[in-house]
Assembly symmetry: C3
Homo-oligomer: 313 residues x 3
């Protein structure tokens, strides 16, 4: 089964195949491979872009989408059904399933015994591999290449699953520099060791914001946090993108962000031609279609038994 | 982009075109123009008829529907994504989007920078234009005409967006009389000036219920309200339709209501042949199909690239 | 209209027709009879299998599914719309509707005045007829026959709507023995009279667990309950299936369960070849497709008016 749980599940060639197919999707090449097939969205954590994006990608490929409405499960008593049982049962009704869950180990638990391909839509502060594919697609569209880049990532590096998957992906692509920037409570060299294995020599960790020489500045988001872990407002503001600090960014550099942005990117930046996060978000549709097509290309629902009802009256 | 935010967005000719097309939809003339296309339902406020009605209309035209499940957003902290960002992003994944929001200015905010047609499913106590089209369709079906009518509207005239859009629509149709009825806290002559511009001479405001000579009595709903604004039960009851007060209504008059009705219309009235609110509700399906077809007739998703998968095995 | 509210709504021949058609569905024989048609899921009570199962069954037949998102209604004030009005209105937009509701009498109320076939997805502690059809399908697949069986049902016999519908169905099938097992607070001979009319001679009631000679042990679930009705943990444990007590079950016997299971079936049993509850759950898809096809075979949406848009560009 073609699960997609983490960037490590894909070879570099497969990553490029998905990006190429996304480009074809963007050009309008697609067929309704999903007619009469089920895409289940099992989101145990709130989501706008990923859930709606996959639902839309599914519809454009002809899938019928089914929503687990999983938010209700969060509030259930401890006596609820196990995640393993729920996903096992639901996967049997589905041709593909996108899972998001607040627990890091939910992914491993969920795929134990399933009967359809599962796509990880974010597991705790683990990975978010389809977001990384969307990020790579945006980088390649903006810059025309993926290797030899100087990429800055700013925000909660330790807590951001989008940042994690992107670091994993970039580490394979012969980066010139990966510059990790955030408060000391949110990033240090151990994060580089964990997520940028093999290219730690190319990783810089900064506790301030510097956009000099960057090809890409990726705004991963910086939630304030709670309790002892809470960041003072002033500390968060030091890492927010303002029109002023954007002057450091080369003319050829681009600003990307998985969104949502709360206050990490000033609204005035939206109209800067280097701001590409809405295009990045929009193009996410094509990437999700390519991911979905790949996952279901060996679908258990036999296409040959699908017949449209005789409607000739 | 063919947004529909208010009755003023439609010319009188366009209103009639939509009603005519609704009649054709009712007769079974339709094609699956929505196959592989996305209709997004972004309801930030509870809804039964409008959301389910548009979803069903979408399905009957072949659309796949995607639900924003927006009720969760109401409970979010102030640090959530802006409505503008959310709708901008989601609209890029959609071929049409129906928006309902508790804030009056949400409509203007939401359509600032979107990439698909947006249909207003109700904004605060502003407008609800598709309900007014449904109301006009019901009136024309029941009476055979739309002009020269004596129409009574009873309830919370000031707070009802359905009443507002209907008043706007009726004001264009050379009414004989528009009779606004409700408690003094819920309607006065300023409402006539606001919503019946151009025909204020034809508007009567009453603080009691009178069905005499009416072609249509439209029950807009009269929620009790809260705090200083709260209506005593006895005051609400004075404006409820009972079998007794219905004796005033001419035999050719009809009772309409956007529903839900809580206690504004006595259950005994359901079996009166002049009660047409369930037919009105049922026929709303055809009107929503016509509205949806109109909005997406210049859809960005190219029909020519839609191909059904080869299923010949 | 072909409603399905209870097992009594089906003749024995109809039950067998549905099981035979389910078998055909399982073999891949199906057509997209639902294209451009609406299946509405009106669940006023939480559900995983039944809601997702019917949604998936609908998609596989080509239906578009619409979710009432009814969980929100539970929290509404008493001044909300009546269930009767809601279902009446929504049924007019639908070609079939599956209803689940916590109140026993909701079914009778809901079908009073509707314009599409309604399928009972569980009413209070009344019936759950589609689950019983799924159970019969699983029994026939596992044992090759439905008559002359010795079937044990363990759990909250009085409170389980799945158990009720299964008892009703089994009572028609010339059972050799129906063995009802549970705490004294959850089952006694009055339950046999109520649900096994005509075969009470074949019913045994036990207040302990005995799997001897059983062809089927059906684990109906045993929630702890609350207040005076609450069961001590030790009492619940006496009726849980463990590997040890499973030694009593003949080699040819099978373990079935409508799921979810909380702790009523030990996890070690999953790998026992007699455990068939996941197959039972998986095959539920085909049964729901057969039920849905039967309900809509005289659909009001005319198939002949369904035309795919000309996409030849």
């Amino acid at each position: 089964m073609r699960h997609l749980g983490a960037i490590a599940d894909l070879s570099s060639a497969e990553v490029l195949q998905i990006l190429d197919r996304s480009e074809e999707m963007r050009s309008g090449a697609r067929s309704l491979i999903g007619a009469g097939r089920v895409l289940t969205l099992a989101f145990f954590q709130a989501s706008t872009r990923t859930r709606i994006g996959f639902a839309s990608a599914g519809v454009r490929l002809g899938f019928g989408t089914v929503d687990l409405l999983a938010e209700r499960y969060d509030l259930r008593m401890s006596s609820s059904e196990s995640l393993e049982d729920t996903i096992r049962v639901v996967s049997a009704y589905s041709d593909a399933l996108v899972l998001r869950h607040p627990a890091n180990d939910a992914w491993t638990t969920a795929v134990t015994d399933v009967s359809c391909p599962i796509i990880n839509g974010g597991n705790g502060n683990g990975e978010h591999p389809t977001q990384a594919l969307i990020d790579l697609f945006a980088i390649r569209r903006a810059l025309g290449r993926l290797d030899g880049l100087t990429v800055g990532i700013v925000g909660d590096i330790r807590g951001s699953r989008s940042a994690h998957s992107l670091m994993r992906a970039l580490s394979r692509l012969v980066p010139k520099e990966i510059r990790l920037m955030g408060p000391a409570l949110r990033v240090d060299t151990t994060d580089a060791s964990t997520w940028c294995a093999g290219v730690t020599e190319q990783v810089t960790v900064l506790h301030h914001l510097s956009l000099r020489n960057l090809d890409v500045i990726y705004v991963a988001g910086l939630p304030p946090g709670t309790g002892a872990d809470r960041l003072p407002d002033a500390e968060r503001e030091r890492f927010a993108l303002t029109p002023q600090c954007l002057r450091q960014l080369p003319d050829t550099g681009v600003v990307l962000c998985p969104l949502p942005r709360i206050d990490e990117i000033a609204l005035e930046i939206d109209s800067d031609s280097r701001a590409r996060f809405f295009e990045q978000s929009d193009d996410g549709l094509w990437v999700r279609m390519a991911v979905l097509e790949r996952a279901t290309s060996h679908s258990k629902t036999p296409a040959r038994s699908m017949r449209f009802a005789d409607v000739s009256g």
